[in-house]
Amino acid sequence: MEWQKANLGIFNETDIKTFQSSHVLVVGGGGLGAHFLNGMVRSAIGKVTIVDDDVYEESNLNRQLFSTPETLGQHKADVVADALKAINPSLDVSVVKTRIQSVGRERFDDVDLIVDAVDNIVSKLHIEGLANDLDLPLLHGAIGGWFAQIGLVMPGSFLLTEFYGEALHGLEKSLRCPTFTLGLTGNLMVAEALKFFTGKPTLENRILFVDALNYEMRILYEKDDSYGSR
C-alpha cells in the first residue's frame, strides 16, 4: 500500500515488508491495547489478534481510544477491530472475546509477538507463563498514574514473576490510569515492537521505567542470572 511508504525514513522497504507479514496477538483492547494497535496498524502491521472479553462502560470514556457514547455496551475487541479495519481495510484482524485463560492454542500458531496490555498483575503473570510455554516473546506494558513500565520478556526469563513478586496491584489502584500515560506507553510499546521486528536494540529482559511527572525514562532492571553468584 502506497501510504505505508510514508513510514520510510527510519524504516526501509524490507522493514515495512516485515511488518506487513508479522502477526501480533494483543491481550487487552482497552487502554494500552487500543493505543498500541492504532500505532501498529499505521506502521503497516499485517495481522493482529485482539483478545478481550470486556464491553465498554461509561467509565472507560476518559481514556480508552475507541470508546464513545455510541460504543457503550459493545465488545471492545469488536469496536477496536472495526476501527483498525477503517484505517487499513486489508488488515487481517481476528477477535477473541474470551479471557486469555480460555484461548485455544491454535490461535497462537503464526503469532510472532504476544502483547501484554491487560490491566492487572494476575493476568500479566498468566500471560508470561503462556508466552513461556509457547516459546514466544512477550511485550509487557503497564501503567499507574504518571508512571509506566515497558519490557520485552523472552521465554525462560520469567522477568515479570521475579519483578512483581507477590504483589496483587500497584499504583494504578490509587492513581488510576490517565489517558496520556496510556497513550505515551502504548506508543513506546509500538516503538519497541517495531525495533524487535527489525532487529534493532530492544528492551530484551529489561524493564524501562517512565515517569511523566518528572519527565524521566530509565532502565531500572536488567535480568542477569550471574548476579546471584556475587
Binding site: G28, N120, H169, D211
Partner: protein, 82 residues
C-alpha cells in the same frame, strides 16, 4: 557509601531523589533513610520495589540483604494497570 535513588511516588511525595548513606545491609539502609527523610514511613518503604545495581529485584522479604560500598539502590513502585 551506598547510593540511594527514589522514583515514582516516593520521589513525588517526599521531594527527595537521591541520598548517599553508610549501610552494610538493607535493614541498616532503610533505618538511615527513615532518619534522613522523616516524612517517609516504614510502610511506604516496605511497599516499594527495590533494585540493586539495576540487576537484582528485592521485595520486603529480602531486607537482610548485604550491601557493598558503591552499590546503587533504587526504590520505586509497581504499576500494573493498562
Amino acid at each position: 557509601m551506598v547510593h540511594v535513588k527514589f522514583f515514582a511516588l516516593l520521589r513525588s511525595n517526599h521531594r527527595v531523589s537521591e541520598l548517599s548513606l553508610k549501610a552494610s545491609d538493607m535493614k541498616e539502609l532503610t533505618d538511615e533513610i527513615l532518619l534522613k527523610v522523616p516524612s517517609l514511613s516504614k510502610e511506604e518503604l516496605k511497599q516499594a520495589v527495590i533494585f540493586i545495581n539495576n540487576k537484582k529485584v528485592m521485595h520486603e522479604k529480602r531486607f537482610n540483604e548485604k550491601l557493598e560500598d558503591g552499590d546503587v539502590v533504587v526504590f520505586t513502585n509497581f504499576v500494573g494497570g493498562g
